[in-house]
């Protein structure tokens, strides 16, 4: 996927001025956050489970080569195949080669963020294979030719009116006079449209929430059941997974599953958690005849052992997006690539470079809510700060900003000078602002004063007044 993260500020400004988007984003506020809080309150062991989940991932990452090889061995022993891919191009080629060998016309797809990262749909289409997104949200954005705006609710930026219009524009064979006003009707329409596509697909592609080294299994967590139809009905099941998805055992996966659904949708457990191991067995009643795992690195292995390693614990629950005031204000598409919100602000520069994605780690108030709700305790603000440090070292922030910061630091590092400057500043601003008590415009804070006043200083600095008080006490 082509990144527009450089244009983050413009994207955000457009998003803030888009009334439909702003209306849609209101749904986030109550939906995810309140449901998550309730689910967490129902589980007294929540904090301990988080600690165990973190420990599992830490252990796995420290021994990642071992567990990936163990996983591959199990997959192979059961008749499946692991395709090791360094980058998106290799992964796309691996998928296409399987489709070509099976002479695939259409492939159904469950939701996969790795698939988005690879730009798989474009690659397949360009090579004559038709990908059909089957997750309702992914289907909606596919027919609108848009990127997802959220990692578990890809169409959360749209209103039902917009979705209804897209359905009418796309499902031309249906009666134009049909009613299409509420979510129920749209769900039913999508179900009816997609059912024959599931049955007709030659290949089914899903993502993976986990890979299990113990058994050579992949696990998907869904609510719609689309992932299951996608991977059960066609001739081949292709799993797209980045390499940090591996965990040692089914027990380890079970522990992390306990924090995943609750963090994501606030459910006790998602409707469908499905563990897939190899192709169908000779005596199985159904199932795919081939099982492939496309294992993608795409820069992740280089994050191990460094200041961004913790990011590899991420289980893509989206709790950080759902609790981020910045994400809630502008939605996911402003971030300009696959992964939005706090986890995207850390991961995106890692994967596409800080030159292209530099805005993302800066666009945070460091309010810390993301880290507070992250089931894997990823220190997201700290890692955004690491990115800012790397940017600063490379002189990437604008020159005026760097000069302003240097001038400020010059005074701050000289307290005596600073004291005098602060008192003069307080006197001047206090004098000018005294009549109104606030400023409606200030030359150096135009961004602020365009929409907000700035309260005026009281007129003297504390330090100068305190010095006078101490002197007066001494005299007395």
């Amino acid at each position: 996927m082509k990144a527009t993260s450089r244009a983050f500020k413009d994207n955000a400004r457009r998003a803030l001025g888009d009334p439909q988007l702003q209306k849609a984003l209101l749904n986030l506020r109550t939906g995810f956050a309140e449901r998550r809080a309730h689910a967490v309150s129902q589980l007294p062991e929540w904090e301990k489970l988080r600690d165990e989940a973190v420990a599992i991932k830490r252990h796995t990452l420290a021994n990642l080569d071992f567990y990936l090889e163990a996983f591959e061995q199990k997959v192979t022993a059961q008749g499946g195949q692991v395709h090791w891919c360094r980058d998106a191009a290799e992964a796309n080629a691996a998928v296409l080669a399987i489709c070509r060998r099976l002479d695939a016309q259409t492939v159904t797809k469950g939701k996969s963020m790795v698939g988005e990262e690879m730009g798989l749909n474009d690659h397949l289409e360009a090579n004559g294979v038709t990908p059909v997104e089957t997750d309702l949200g992914e289907y909606i954005i596919q027919i609108r030719h848009e990127p997802p705006s959220h990692i578990i609710a890809p169409a959360v930026h749209l209103t039902k009116e917009q979705i209804g219009e897209s359905f009418r524009a796309t499902h031309r064979a249906l009666d134009p006079a049909r009613r299409l006003e509420d979510a129920r009707q749209m769900c039913d329409e999508a179900r009816a449209i997609l059912r024959p596509r599931f049955l007709a697909a030659d290949v089914g592609i899903t993502g993976a929430n986990f890979l299990v080294a113990e058994t050579g299994s992949s696990i998907i967590v869904t609510n719609e059941g689309n992932g299951d139809l996608t991977q059960t009905l066609p001739k081949a099941h292709i799993v797209l997974a980045s390499l940090e998805k591996v965990v040692p055992t089914l027990e380890d996966a079970s522990t992390i599953l306990r924090v995943l659904a609750r963090s994501a949708t606030g459910q006790e457990f998602s409707a469908y958690t499905t563990v897939s191991t190899g192709p169908r067995r000779p005596d199985d009643a159904d199932g795919p005849g081939e099982y492939h795992v496309v294992l993608l690195d795409n820069g992740r292995s280089a994050l191990l052992g460094g200041e961004f390693e913790d990011m590899l614990r991420c289980i893509r629950c989206a709790a950080c997006l759902n609790h981020c005031p910045v994400y809630q204000a502008i939605g996911g598409q402003s971030y300009g690539w696959v992964y939005p919100g706090p986890m995207g602000a850390v991961l995106t520069p890692s994967l596409i470079g800080v030159e292209a994605a530099g805005n993302l780690p800066n666009a945070s108030t460091f309010c810390g809510r993301c880290e507070q709700v992250c089931p894997m305790k990823i220190p997201l603000p700290r890692m955004m700060r690491h990115w800012r440090e790397r940017e600063f070292e490379r002189h990437l922030p604008p020159r005026t900003y760097r000069l302003g910061l240097a001038a400020w630091a010059f005074f701050v590092e000289r307290p005596a000078l600073y004291r005098r400057a602060a008192d003069w500043g307080a006197r001047i601003l206090g004098y000018v602002g005294r009549a109104r008590g606030r400023f409606r415009a200030l030359p150096l804070a135009a961004g602020w004063t365009r929409t907000r006043d700035l309260p005026a200083p009281e007129g003297r600095s504390f330090m100068s007044l305190w010095a006078e008080r101490v002197a007066a006490r001494k005299r007395a």
């Binding site: 005031p325 108030t365 590092e413 307080a426 961004g447 600095s461």
Partner: protein
């Protein structure tokens, strides 16, 4: 025991110093009422957050060394801000990973540093204040104070003892106001949208006064309310607890 009063150094913070010295005096009064001997070290300016959050580690370290030196030797360092307090307590020690001696001093300082209201309640065991404020207040939990320092119940506990004051919680009181230091200027549009949510929640809470423990949030929220012509008064929680009631933030008639 001739003088068992703890020696407390006030780190007044750059925003209180420049914008609202009355908060500094409120802090001094509250600390003295609680039985502390208060001093204000002269060699203080800013805790370094603007540099830290901009990725300028070198300046941050220089500023932190200066703060560590200025506040050496006091029993406690008290800050009328969760954000600056959090900077010293939660972030200074990590700045000196490659300088064990300074890291040790930073840890020592972090261990002695407290946000004002939590210091009064948790350390000085203050249970009530003698102050009066006629109004209905709502309290915004500033992010760093809440999430880095655990400031949540302490201000509410002391506010409950203020005569004439009723506290009403707003919706999403724990959600950020959108200030974020330089964020408010660099990403002013987004910041404005976030503070708009905050002021909407303040308005629907039915309160006539907004209180918080951080000047940054207060300037942001007051500025937004004033631009909208909203009469809600905005004050630092220390002013109310100390019974200091000059003009509210952004109201005309400040002393000169």
């Amino acid at each position: 025991m001739p003088d068992s009063k703890p020696r407390v150094a006030l780190f007044v913070t750059c925003l209180v110093d420049l914008f609202r010295p009355s908060v500094g005096f409120a802090a001094v009064k509250l600390l003295e009422d609680a039985g502390c001997a208060v001093e204000v070290p002269g060699a203080q300016s800013c805790c370094g957050q603007p540099a830290y959050n901009s990725g300028d580690r070198r300046s941050t370290q220089a500023i932190a060394r200066q703060v560590i030196a200025a506040f050496a030797g006091y029993d406690y360092v008290v800050v009328p801000s969760g954000s600056c307090g959090g900077m010293i307590k939660a972030h200074y020690p990590a700045l000196f990973a490659d300088d064990p001696a300074t890291a040790e001093q930073a840890r020592d300082l972090a261990g002695r540093t407290y946000e004002l209201v939590s210091f009064l309640v948790d350390v000085m065991k203050v249970e009530r204040v003698s102050a009066r404020y006629d109004g209905v207040a709502t309290y915004h939990d500033s992010c760093s104070g809440l999430r880095e320092l655990g400031v949540k119940s302490q201000p509410r506990r002391l506010l409950a003892s203020v005569e004439g004051l009723t506290l009403k919680e707003m919706r999403d009181g724990e959600v950020c106001c959108g200030f974020g230091g330089t964020f408010a200027v660099k990403y002013a549009d987004i910041s404005d949208k976030i503070v708009e949510e905050k002021t909407d929640n303040i308005r629907t809470s039915g309160a006539d006064t907004l209180l918080a423990g951080d000047m940054g949030c207060l300037l942001n929220i007051a500025g937004k309310l004033e631009r909208a012509g909203d009469p809600t008064r905005v004050r630092h929680v220390a002013e109310v607890l100390a019974g200091i009631a000059g003009p509210a933030l952004g109201e005309p008639g400040g002393e000169s």
